[in-house]
Symmetry: C2
Subunit: 153 residues, 2 copies
Amino acid sequence: MIFLTPADAPMRKTTSQKKPAKNQHASVREDHATELAQDYVEAIDDLIREDGTCRLIEIARRFAVSHVTANRTLARLKRDGLVESQPYGPITLTSHGKRMAQAARRRHKIVLDFLISLGVDEETAASDAEGMEHHVSKKTLAAMARSLRRRTE
Amino acid sequence: MIFLTPADAPMRKTTSQKKPAKNQHASVREDHATELAQDYVEAIDDLIREDGTCRLIEIARRFAVSHVTANRTLARLKRDGLVESQPYGPITLTSHGKRMAQAARRRHKIVLDFLISLGVDEETAASDAEGMEHHVSKKTLAAMARSLRRRTE
DNA sequence: CTTCAAATGTAGCCAGCGCTACACTTGAAG
DNA sequence: CTTCAAGTGTAGCGCTGGCTACATTTGAAG
């Protein structure tokens, strides 16, 4: 992903040019773009495991959005090479999509288990994990996994 | 906040009607709307503490967006009663905005300290806390605070 | 084979949040 | 008082992600 800097924020042309000073936020925005994608592939993967197939309407129901919204989002995922489908047909994941779903599932499980180990009730943990999993870096995820392992021993 | 359900997802008109079945996602979306607002009031509060005043351009720099984007976002915050400003003047927080900033600051600190206590390096912790703080419920925040207290003893 | 409900597709609207380009204000330096 | 750079405002564009309304396709029941 190319790092675009707006004309207004010329990142103090002083020296380094690598790692702009205060731009945690820029990467946050970048993440936002792929959050929905991850949620969708995760849901598609779930639905295929549960029902054997994945229909548009089920995705729409799961996200509580109209089938139109689900359809347009899926079109973007198709464009981006994450899912495949024929008109009026079921939705499948590409190998890329499957990889992403698997990674998401793993992250999700670690965050969820970690929250529960923290003493959060399962319902709250499930809800929070849903939102948090997209903002947990590899390092933090590793720290959570470490903490879980420690408690298990 | 009124809970709108799209026509397509009529939440199985079977019985209860309270707590639609699988709608963790709906609340996630609702949060999204106020995330930027919280980030902005937090930044404005920071800037006023640091510089004694808060100018549009400084907000734009902090978020690495154009001054136009910052301006329009601030207009929304004005509309929503969080900030105040006169044309070409500095930006201030309303009492409501101040309250929100204070809450955000508190949440932020707990999440940040907690991540550090987990063994995550400070830079990573700062970056992750930025994204996570908006998805941590009161219960989970309390659990984090509890964990911190336990380690301190 | 027909019918009909459910699923899917399409057109078009709105708001949020990015941007560039250009116009206007402000305030400090001359 | 003038000038000029920096800050601010405005017009207009693009993409994402919501929606309703309406059209089309599918597949099962008759």
